[in-house]
């Protein structure tokens, strides 16, 4: 074959070079400039920070043993100096349990979303980029999953897989094996929405001029998918991943509340609510605190998601 490094040198010296006046503005900085314009998103981020601090930092104040320690003589005590959030039916400290329950909820939210995002991206990208029968096949499958109500799927799968999954050790903590079941089924039932979003993005981006330029150059298909198109879908992916965390937390609470989710003694905000079910009027503290925490975290994540939606919009050129 021919030459490898031809590199002609310019003799157009006369051309004056354009300088940019403005200091460099990376995409991250640009996004932050836009994000901080949303007061609610900033508030949401602060609240989210506090909640994470509460769940993680709290773990250093109370031990998990303490959170699971029961003393029936202390049962159903209202909030007091010794037990700020009161105690539950078998005398466990609710404050400590919301801390450890929060850890589980966050963990479930994050891992379920990792699953969701991976599945959503793969299905959406393949369908959107290749189109034709690949698209047809994958989208019909996605729709099939969308048609079945997620809650119904969740309940059936939770019941079905609830069997004897052994406890596991992760991050230095013991978890009931049901946590994994919950994560997997939430992940596997949530991806269709994301897949559709990713597909739509791919469909429009693959026709864009910078992709044509890459194809004219001879860039390989995997590079086009992963280096060119995917980074441009980051906005909707990040936004739906953020909202997906909130969704997963609510779903976990929901199935745990119905008694099909994470098994005691591992605390989650959802199964704490379940425990409070019979005491709605007599012991408000049992449901109030986990309930508020769920509300706060879901709200905070939604506000952050809204801010990110604008901040990451690749089509917006304005600061």
């Amino acid at each position: 074959m021919t030459e490898t490094s031809p590199a002609p040198v310019s003799n157009i010296a006369a051309l004056p070079l354009d300088q940019l006046d403005a200091p460099p503005l990376t995409l991250g900085r640009l996004a932050w400039l836009r994000f901080r314009r949303h007061k609610m998103a900033l508030a949401g981020m602060a609240l989210l920070g506090l909640l994470i601090l509460y769940c993680v930092g709290g773990g250093f104040v109370f031990s998990e043993k303490y959170a699971n320690y029961n003393d029936t003589s202390l049962a159903l005590q209202p909030p007091s100096a010794a037990h700020w959030f009161g105690t539950d039916t078998i005398g466990r400290d609710i404050l400590a349990r919301t801390i450890y329950g929060g850890q589980i909820s966050l963990l479930i939210g994050l891992t379920a979303v990792i699953l969701e995002v991976s599945a959503g991206i793969v299905v959406g990208a393949l369908a959107g980029y290749f189109g034709g029968w690949v698209d047809n096949l994958l989208m019909r499958f996605t729709e099939a999953i969308l048609i079945i109500p997620q809650i119904f799927l969740l309940l059936v799968m939770a019941k079905f897989f609830a069997g004897d999954i052994p406890d596991i050790n992760f991050l230095g903590r013991e978890f009931s094996g049901s946590v994994i079941v919950i994560v997997v089924i939430i992940g596997l039932t949530s991806w269709p929405y994301l897949a559709r979003i990713v597909r739509a993005e791919f469909l429009s981006l693959k026709e864009s001029e910078f992709i044509l330029a890459a194809r004219a150059t001879g860039t390989s298909t995997p590079e086009i998918i992963f280096l060119h198109i995917l980074p441009n879908c980051i906005a909707p992916i990040v936004v739906s991943a953020t909202l997906g965390v909130a969704n997963a937390i609510t779903l976990e609470a929901y199935i745990s509340f119905l008694g099909l989710g994470v098994r005691p003694p591992t605390a989650t905000w959802g199964n704490m609510l379940e425990g409070a079910y019979n005491y709605i009027e007599s012991a408000y503290w049992m449901w109030l605190f986990p309930g508020l925490l769920i509300l706060f975290i879901v709200l905070a994540i939604n506000f952050v998601g809204d801010g990110l939606r604008d901040a990451l919009d690749p089509r917006s050129r304005a600061v």
């Binding site: 004056p16 006046d21 400039l33 600061v319």
Partner: protein
């Protein structure tokens, strides 16, 4: 002196945005005699649209702010009228405006007829049949024949040029005396552009419409304007009758623009002359002449003080060209001397 239809004095408009203040229009003054055709030319972002929208008070406030100025329409200051008066008597009535993009200005799910007759019925109080007849008449006026059938069509069934003509028909509905056309042909092909220009010329002759035509195409200007305003960075840098402007442009920017244009009617004789540098940044308070950073005739004074628009020695008048020729430049380019 002829009857002045519109007189704009020292109009200044700014936008207060998160990145800072955009100095969009920085003291614009011009006169518009009844029945004349004025062209406003300038590059993207030089404030052409904002000037016209300020006169009609269509800019969003905030972030926009009309800092100062007056716009006298037959003697009454539009900038002081109440919103109700603007709505009832000025916008779409005395002064009509058409915009660049004929695709987005029409509602795709309503018939052309509906979109044409509705304003006639609401604003002019015509009944259904009267409105229908008037709509057909308006369409014929802009060269769309076929009458009632056409009213049943949807915008997508019309081509770009026809949609733009429908926009003009809508603008003409209330018999305005002034039509402001904001780049009405930029999105269209040359053959269609020629049709629209021909149409507007005819309307001017036949119904005595006064026209302000905003464009960035110096070729279009030569064909349809009587008087031309050249804008740069929110300022008028030159104003003259169309012949004078092309025959002896006095501002370095105007000269450079003309030298940067290739000609379809001549053999190529040279490289195009390019204007170095990038368009101005409107985020900084202007100091000195806005064109100074890109100007090849720049002097010390240009960077310090912004020249005002002054009438140049009436050599134009001597050579039989009428109207005063005004330019905002410290340097007399013919002699190289300072003004």
């Amino acid at each position: 002196m002829t009857n002045l239809l519109l007189e704009v004095r020292d109009l200044k408009t700014r936008f207060h945005t998160p990145e800072g203040t955009v100095y969009a229009v920085n003291g614009i003054s011009f006169n518009l005699p009844q029945g004349s055709a004025l062209a406003v030319v300038g590059e993207s972002g030089c404030g052409k649209s904002v000037t016209m929208m300020s006169i009609l008070r269509l800019i969003p406030i905030p972030p926009g702010q009309i800092v100062s100025g007056e716009a006298l329409y037959v003697g009454q200051d539009l900038l002081k009228l109440s919103e109700n008066e603007m709505e009832a008597n000025i916008r779409g009535k005395a002064i009509a405006m058409i915009f660049q993009d004929p695709m987005t200005s029409l509602n795709p799910v309503l018939t052309i007829g509906r979109q044409l007759t509705e304003p006639l019925r609401i604003h002019l109080g015509l009944d259904h049949n009267q409105a229908q007849r008037r709509a057909i008449q308006l369409l014929e006026m802009v060269g769309i024949s076929g009458g009632a059938n056409r009213l049943e069509s949807y915008p997508h069934q019309f081509s770009g040029g026809m949609r733009q003509r429908v926009m003009i028909a809508m603008a003409l509905a209330a018999n305005p005396s002034l039509l402001i056309a904001d780049e009405p042909t930029t999105a269209l092909d040359v053959t269609i552009q020629a049709q629209i220009i021909e149409l507007v010329e005819r309307l001017r002759r036949e119904i005595g419409l006064t026209i302000i035509w905003i464009t960035h195409d110096l070729g279009v200007v030569a064909g349809m304007a009587e008087r031309v305003i050249v804008m740069y960075a929110g300022y008028i840098v030159e104003e003259a009758d169309v012949d004078a402007l092309y025959e002896m442009p006095c501002h370095p920017y105007t000269q450079a623009l003309l030298a940067a244009l290739p000609r379809a009617d001549r053999r190529r004789d040279r490289r195009l002359k390019s204007i170095p540098g990038a368009p101005p940044n409107l985020l900084v308070e202007p100091k000195g002449c806005p064109f100074a950073p890109r100007c090849e005739h720049v002097r010390e004074r240009c960077r310090l003080e912004n020249p005002t628009l002054t009438t140049v020695s009436s050599s134009a008048a001597l050579r039989g060209l009428s109207g005063d020729h005004r330019v905002a430049c410290w340097v007399d380019l013919a002699t190289g001397a300072m003004r």
